[in-house]
């Protein structure tokens, strides 16, 4: 038996999911039908929309979001670490401000157990500017049929 909190609406029913020997699933604790649908999916195949950022091509430097300790600037123990080593000190005062990461998202909810692998793919991508919102940066992620798209024009 496993316990879940329903997130379909703000009530937050405490759901209990039981599996029977024949492989069937029984949900209890739900106040409405949507709770049973949520519990079944969350129990069998939990999925999440993944949002992250990608490096911009040409900003240089080693290191990726996934492994802060390995970035070119070294350990973070003493303070903030620049991930892609950009221009020292960031943009000068009065200069046009340039963001250094492109926000991205999956086009649909992605299997939760594969997210760690997906993040490695995302952090290895370097996006060439300009980029338009909705551009596919990586198609059919890990064979799921789900794409990674840019979330902003830059």
């Amino acid at each position: 038996m496993s316990e879940l909190t329903c997130i379909t609406c703000p009530i937050g029913c405490r759901l209990e999911v039981e599996t029977s020997p024949d492989g069937g699933i029984k949900v209890s604790g739900n106040r409405c039908a949507r709770g049973a649908v949520y519990a079944r999916e969350e129990f069998l195949t939990p999925k999440r929309v993944v949002t992250a950022t990608c490096r911009i091509k040409g900003t240089g430097g080693a290191g990726g979001m996934g492994k802060p300790g390995e970035s070119a600037a070294g350990s973070v123990a003493g303070g903030a670490t620049a991930l892609p080593a950009g221009p020292a000190g960031g943009p000068a005062r009065g200069q046009q401000y340039r963001p250094r990461r492109v926000p991205v998202r999956t086009t649909a909810a992605f299997p939760r157990e594969k997210i760690a692998g997906l993040l490695e793919i995302i952090y290895a991508i370097q996006v060439e500017l300009p980029v338009v919102r909705g551009k596919v940066l990586a198609a059919d992620l890990m064979g799921t049929g789900i794409d990674l798209i840019a979330a902003r024009d830059m």
């Binding site: 909190t5 997130i7 009530i11 999440r48 949002t51 802060p68 903030a80 902003r152």
Partner: protein, 427 residues
Amino acid sequence: MKELRYDAVVVGGGAAGMGAALELRERGFSVAIIEREECLGGILMQCIHNGFGLIEFGEELSGPEFAQRMEDRVRAAGVDAYLGTTVTEMTLGEHTPAYLRDVSSPGATLVCVSPEMGVLRISARAVVLSMGCRERNRGNIRIPGTRPSGVYTAGLAQRLVNIDGYVPGKDVVIVGSGDIGLIMARRMSWIGCKVHAVVEILPHPSGLERNIVQCLKDFGIPLYLSHLTTNIYGRDRVEGVEIAPIVNGAVDYAQARRIPCDTVLLSVGLVPENELSRNAGVELNPMTNGPWVDSGMMTNMPGVFACGNVLHVHDLVDYVVEEARRAGAFAADWLEGRRPARELRIKAGANVRYVAPAKLDPSRDNKVYLRTLVVKNDALLEVKVDNRVVRSAKKAHIQPSEMIALTLGPAELGGTGPDAAVEISIQ
């Protein structure tokens, strides 16, 4: 000094400012948005997570997508946007240029500065305030201890990670369970950091249940409810925090424990950014720290309107845009010389923290937002006019982190006397 003139000026180009500007422009008025950042979108640009737009666009978007879709509409409508431009002063009445004095409203003048254009004076007959919020910080909640580096507000950390591409630390403790803190717990986990705890002073989380599940439970991050953060340790860099449980209303220091970490994120609430309004003489509601507004979203200063998080903190950007569109429409009514014939005062009753706006127009439907003080299932919401119940609604579940919306119109408010008092309470 450069002088400019518009029918309406909107201060702040986030979701609220764009919503209000769009509505004003669509009603045929010339509109300028003044935005201090280099792009429109406000806080949405760093909110790269999804969950925005279900009401406004009918689909689930990330923050930057929502912002840019709004910006597309604003640009297509012909709104002027002054970017990298900060408003330093707002004046009404005697400072108004002579050519504006004879029209229906006295108008306002904004003094602005920008690196490109220097000092500007922008005059308008209507002003919409939509500056949003600032985060409460360590000083606001008085956490004792040393002052090492590594203490950030959650929103600042969000900006550093999502826009600037910096990782602010490795081992994180989050103080406060507001939604920004919860979202950052997931974000920090996904960039390879370890989030050791979320510490909440109240017995219930401040954020949405959905975020508790998807941002904490998915990562096995412990949530300490009814716990006070009693100390921050470290000389140059944060080395840890001390937390202690609150038992029967008192902090139990005997059970205090230390959690080693190098970074502390604070997610302890938002305060509307009202320095500009306050200096201009706008009256603020101490319960929201935002301006008092009447049924037409107008402050005590004629022609000055307010909407979005600068008025009161919203849960969803879709509600912000909806409110901002109404504020824009009311500002357009004002420019056309239309004002409500009479208004009723509305106040917060039992278990209600605040109600916004503070007045209702009994001749039409009024959208009212309120926040409760309590967590409750099967609650009863009651609206009374002079102690007579005119509306009661059952709510399956209420909690302070979920805003409650209500529409009150002639059916409830009709036939009331000029001094009738409307009160909303929750049992």
